[in-house]
């Protein structure tokens, strides 16, 4: 019996890591760590190796290790992406630069302050808005949405709020008050949701002088997104919708209504009864 061999070859890679402690340092600086890297090792693994074996003072943010939580967004070789989702040998031969996400204040080392992003996100009311609030909160039925209606906003719902798009945005680099790709894509996600009736309320925020119209359509946000979301497309949709709303050319659609509650629906005809329980 033969066992399959895994490639355990290691290579020495220089990690050029941005360090910054606001209590002791005046400006960020770069410190280089030479560490062994094996195939399949992620940048997050490399940072763990440094912290465990070389420099325990290194700080970064992480949680799930599987590209779901969006905590470990970093600037790797000049591109914002997730450290847990990126294998070192896929992007580096000998040297790898690791920095905090740009367009954010640095809390420490590789930890960006994402509060500005979350405040902007909160401002566009990223949740279902309806006039019949009581009906929304009482779980006595479910809202029907066709697969096509779901498809209209589904990709924007994959956003994990990692901040990579915000870090890649050239407009945000100069205009700190610009809402940015993540909040605007979130606005589009809820505007397109057929259960929602809050588009006009959100227009008050997305249509400001630092809203959707400041987007130059560089498209870097869409290139940077580790989840394949296309925020640039969402912003163009938003612009179109804002203009149509201003010109009163948008079709006024009522939000979808609740279907019957559990057990209240009519069964389809010609469906045989379930077999008797065997256990």
């Amino acid at each position: 019996m033969t066992m399959s061999k895994t490639n355990t070859t290691t290579r020495e890679i220089n990690f050029h890591v941005t360090r910054y402690n606001p209590e002791t340092d005046r400006t960020p600086y770069v410190k280089t760590y030479r560490i062994p890297v094996r195939e399949g090792m992620t940048v997050l693994d490399g940072l763990h190796y440094i912290k465990d074996n070389v420099d325990p003072t290194l700080a970064w943010r992480y949680s799930c290790r599987m590209g779901v939580c969006g905590s470990c967004g970093m600037l790797l070789n000049g591109r914002p992406t997730l450290a847990c989702n990126t294998q070192v040998l896929h992007i580096a031969d000998t040297d790898l630069t690791v920095g905090p996400l740009p367009n954010f204040e640095i809390i420490r080392d590789l930890v960006p302050d994402l509060m500005t992003m979350f405040e902007k996100h909160s401002s566009i009311q990223p949740h279902i808005l309806r006039t019949d609030e009581a009906g929304l909160n009482s779980p006595d039925g479910e809202f029907y949405q066709s697969p096509a209606e779901l498809e209209a906003y589904l990709q924007f719902a994959y956003c994990i709020k990692c901040g990579c798009c915000m870090a890649a945005c050239p407009t945000l680099a100069t205009d700190a008050r610009y809402l940015g790709p993540m909040p605007l894509a979130a606005a589009e996600r809820y505007d397109k949701d057929t259960r929602d009736d809050g588009r006009r309320a959100r227009n008050e925020f997305t249509g400001t002088s630092h809203g959707a119209f400041r987007c130059h359509y560089a498209g870097e946000c869409s290139r940077a997104c580790p989840k394949g979301v296309d925020p640039a497309k969402a912003i163009q949709y938003l612009k179109r919708q804002l203009v149509l709303d201003y010109l009163h050319l948008a079709r006024r659609k009522k939000p979808c209504q609740k279907m019957h509650g559990p057990g209240q629906g009519k069964p389809l005809p010609n469906i045989p009864a379930a077999p008797a329980k065997t256990v």
Binding site: T174, D175, G207, G211, K239, Y246
Partner: protein
């Protein structure tokens, strides 16, 4: 929705400029060959041909319209560039006010020039 209004007019002005610049190119560069709106000998910008166009109300209105949309489109673009420098809200308001005054001033001056030229052309034509 105020910014949406500004931006919609900015886009609309761009479309109008596209047509009016097409007309400009037609007269200035193709007109010399086809003598469209340039019935006199010489180039399209010769004094006789210019006076011929200036005496037509259509061209006076076109000049004023082109001036208006070009000024609006350009000044809104400039405002956008300035707004991307993370300015204070008070500074943004001041910029909007200054550009509005500058735009209205230039539009008034240009409109006066277009109407005055129209009057001179008509007087010259009669004389």
């Amino acid at each position: 929705m105020r910014e949406t209004k500004y931006w919609t007019w900015h886009m609309s002005a761009g479309v109008v400029i596209l047509f009016l610049l097409g007309l400009h190119m037609l007269i200035m560069h193709v007109g010399g060959i086809t003598h469209l709106f340039a019935p006199h000998t010489g180039e399209a910008i010769s004094k006789e041909n210019s006076l011929f166009r200036d005496s037509r109300m259509f061209f006076t209105v076109t000049y004023v319209l082109l001036l208006g949309v070009a000024l609006y489109h350009g000044l809104y673009g400039l405002r956008t560039i300035l707004f991307e420098l993370t300015l204070k809200p008070a500074v943004e308001k001041a910029i909007t006010f200054i550009l509005l005054v500058a735009g209205l001033g230039l539009f008034g001056l240009g409109t006066w020039a277009a109407i005055a030229t129209h009057a001179i052309a008509i007087a010259g034509g009669r004389g």
